[in-house]
């Protein structure tokens, strides 16, 4: 055992906007500094990578001063919000892009799987593509030959192996491509969210294979995903990126916990509209949750809760409807409530008004949830608020029996009866 990968002071700068206009002048300026032995003038520029705020500089640091080490045989999960720098880090690790500053040192071959089926050629048969794709990923012909039967068996495409890939279904294509990649013999494997393909059976197979690769064969795996369930299942350590820097590094469950916190920290207990410069005919001005048991956003499952939305309209008689989505911690949508489904249908606007959505017996088990609210105008989404409210649910006596199923086994509580017949 030892260190497999060591990343030191790794930074990557990108130029924003269109490359083209101004490129020559920047290139010349750079060159002028270089021949006089001065530092690249544009390296000093650059801002922290936060895609939500519009910056003043054309240059941003997609990654800034990243330091970490990965031990041999470790499965490191790399997590973070969209735009946190995950993909950039993977690109640097897999040598697709070069760092601006810093070094990566590694022991052994690195094979990366940023996309399933890179270089697949539609005209070639499955067999030919296995060899082509394997070679692109760095295998020798002899290696592929010795694993060919295994690859085909794993993909489950024996019957079609001599058919051109263009006749394959997309699922078959992905299976074959993943099978090739899964049989790579490199010491270090880098995987980007490719598991989110194929049917459930194949996904399980893919996760199983990844676990074998790591624990059985002692290889080092770096895994990037948004799916916390598969990260938790696969990885033993985690690296949390935020705005291009390392936010935390450690045991995977701690890291997932931290991710959930930074992901949820800006969610208010009450939503109030803030002028974003967009002119709307009608908008959601505020929203909050009321529950007769506990105030604020803490509610008890089984109790009645009300989601109260106040709108303001520039015109009266606009035809509107409201939709509410409830998401769990992992970002999966559990419930979709819509005024059009439940008999209330659409409403005509006044100058302003309040709409209440009443859930008589709240059916979700304990946990933390977020709520998105969307105002539709004439049947189309018009004003959408992501993460408008957060909701903390605590267990209550839903069934009136004092008993509840284990929250891990039942995410949703459903009223039901049992009869002898």
């Amino acid at each position: 055992m030892g260190t497999a990968i060591k990343v030191e002071n790794l930074s990557k700068q990108y130029r924003l906007g269109e490359v083209g206009t101004g490129t020559i002048s920047h290139d010349l300026n750079r060159w002028w500094h270089k021949i006089r032995g001065k530092e690249d003038p544009y390296l000093k520029l650059g801002e922290v990578n936060d895609r939500a705020t519009k910056g003043t500089s054309d240059y941003v640091w997609a990654l800034r001063d990243i330091n970490f080490e990965v031990q041999q045989g470790e499965v490191l999960g790399i997590i973070g919000k969209n735009g946190a720098g995950k993909s950039t880090l993977l690109k640097l690790l897999s040598r697709v892009a070069s760092p601006t500053i810093g070094t990566i040192k590694a022991k052994g071959r690195i094979a990366s799987l940023l996309e399933v089926g890179t270089g697949f050629n539609n005209e070639l048969t499955g067999r030919e593509n296995v060899f082509l794709n394997g070679a692109i990923l760095g295998m020798t012909k002899a290696e592929i030959k010795s694993k060919f039967d295994e690859i085909v068996a794993f993909s489950g495409t024996e019957r079609y192996i001599d058919t051109p890939v263009k006749r394959y279904s997309s699922g078959m294509r992905v299976r074959l491509a993943f099978a090739v990649a899964a049989h790579l013999e490199s010491e270090i494997l880098i995987v980007d969210e490719v598991l989110a393909v194929g049917d459930a059976e194949f996904q399980n197979k893919a996760i199983g294979k990844m676990q074998d690769v790591a624990s059985g064969e002692g290889r080092t795996v770096l895994f990037v995903s948004h799916n916390m369930a598969s990260v938790a299942a696969l990885c033993n350590r985690g690296l949390l990126l935020a705005n291009g820097t390392v936010n935390a590094l450690g045991e995977i469950h701690d890291i997932i916990g931290k991710y959930l916190i930074i992901n949820n920290k800006d969610i208010a207990t009450k939503y109030t509209f803030q002028n974003d410069g967009i002119v709307r005919d009608v908008w959601i001005n505020s929203a909050h949750i009321e529950s007769n048991e506990v105030s604020n956003n803490n509610v008890i499952s089984g109790s009645e809760i009300k989601i109260i939305v106040q709108y303001i309209a520039l015109h009266t008689n606009l035809k509107c409807s409201l939709h509410i989505g409830i998401y769990d911690n992992y970002g999966d949508k559990l419930v979709h409530l819509g005024s059009v489904y439940s008999g209330f249908d659409t409403f005509r606007t006044e100058k302003n008004g309040i709409i209440e959505c009443v859930i008589p017996k709240f059916p979700l088990v304990e946990g933390k949830y977020t709520i998105n609210i969307s105002l539709h105008l004439n049947g189309r989404p018009y004003h959408k608020i992501k993460d408008a409210l957060s909701l903390i649910v605590e267990n209550g006596d839903f069934f009136g029996s004092g008993k509840l199923p284990n929250p891990k086994e039942s995410k949703i509580l459903v009223n039901h009866n049992w009869n002898l017949s």
């Binding site: 040598r95 070094t103 590694a106 022991k107 071959r109 996309e115 030919e128 990923l137 295998m139 012909k141």
Partner: protein
């Protein structure tokens, strides 16, 4: 815990030496080169009825057109050689050169998708282009040999000679020059797409500025330096001399393109190598 530096098998850094060509890596990926060549060959003619016969038809019709337009109508001398053979020799060489040049000059832009997803020594791509075009060249070359044989049997004045031994070297020269040039252009198109348009008609114009349609002996003195500056002029002249026994042969016709090839290859590989590291951010 202190790591010894020599333990690392791979070090990724922002900049590396211009001359660090990683030829070892290229060698390790040699199977990929073979796969690319096979792919090019199989995929191009799938679902065509005539298949590889297209390799024959295109140069054949070009030759016939040239024979009629330049030989009959314009009346340009071919130095006593049957015009059909004269033009076919030039076209076969030029086709190889221009096919390699056009394809390699598109290396980065055309493969941005795959280069953005997986690492392999980028040099493999231009190499594979040059090699797979040798196969096409071979087919056209066979056609040329068939015609040559026909003219020899019917007793025309063609005299293949000992300089045939130079032909493999000529092919290597063409491959190297087109690849070198192509890599430079390919590296520059990643930032400035303008070059992509330039290469399209540039290659066509360069053909008229070479000895594809006229022998060296017919070039007026004042244009001679200009036309002989095109390395393909010398190569085609030597090629014709070896197969047809026509024209003149000076050692400078071999020395010049050789030096040219060496310089352009070194330049090309350096520029290519430099851009390879950053192009994915600018392409």
């Amino acid at each position: 815990m202190k790591e010894k530096e020599e333990d690392w098998t791979l070090v990724i850094e922002p900049k590396s030496s211009l001359f660090d060509l990683q030829l070892k890596e290229v060698w390790r990926y040699r199977d990929l080169l073979i796969m690319f060549v096979t792919r090019d060959f199989i995929s191009v003619y799938k679902q065509t009825i005539l298949g590889p016969i297209w390799f024959f038809l295109q140069p054949l019709f070009t030759t016939i057109t040239f024979t009629i337009v330049f030989g009959r109508i314009a009346g340009i001398s071919t130095g006593g050689v049957p015009p059909l053979l004269f033009y076919m020799a030039g076209i076969t060489c030029w086709n190889y050169f221009s096919a390699c040049l056009t394809a390699t000059s598109n290396t980065f832009v055309g493969n941005a998708n795959i280069f953005g997803k997986v690492y392999f020594p980028r040099l493999i791509t231009p190499l594979s282009i040059v090699v797979s075009n040798i196969l096409k060249f071979g087919v056209q070359f066979l056609l040329f040999l068939v015609f040559l044989l026909y003219y020899m049997v019917t007793g025309d004045s063609v005299q293949p000679n000992i300089y045939l031994l130079l032909v493999p070297f000529l092919i290597i020269l063409m491959a190297v020059i087109s690849m070198g040039f192509g890599m430079i252009i390919s590296a520059m198109t990643t930032r400035y797409r303008d070059l992509h348009f330039l290469i399209g008609f540039g290659v066509q114009l360069a053909m008229y500025g070479s000895t594809v349609i006229y022998p060296v002996s017919e070039i007026p003195e004042k244009y001679k330096t200009f036309i002989m500056a095109n390395p393909m002029s010398s190569i085609i002249e030597v090629f014709r001399f070896a197969f047809l026994g026509s024209g003149t042969l000076q050692w400078s016709y071999i020395a010049y393109p050789t030096v040219f090839a060496a310089v352009i290859l070194v330049l090309g590989v350096i520029v290519f190598n430099k851009v390879e590291k950053t192009f994915i951010d600018t392409v």
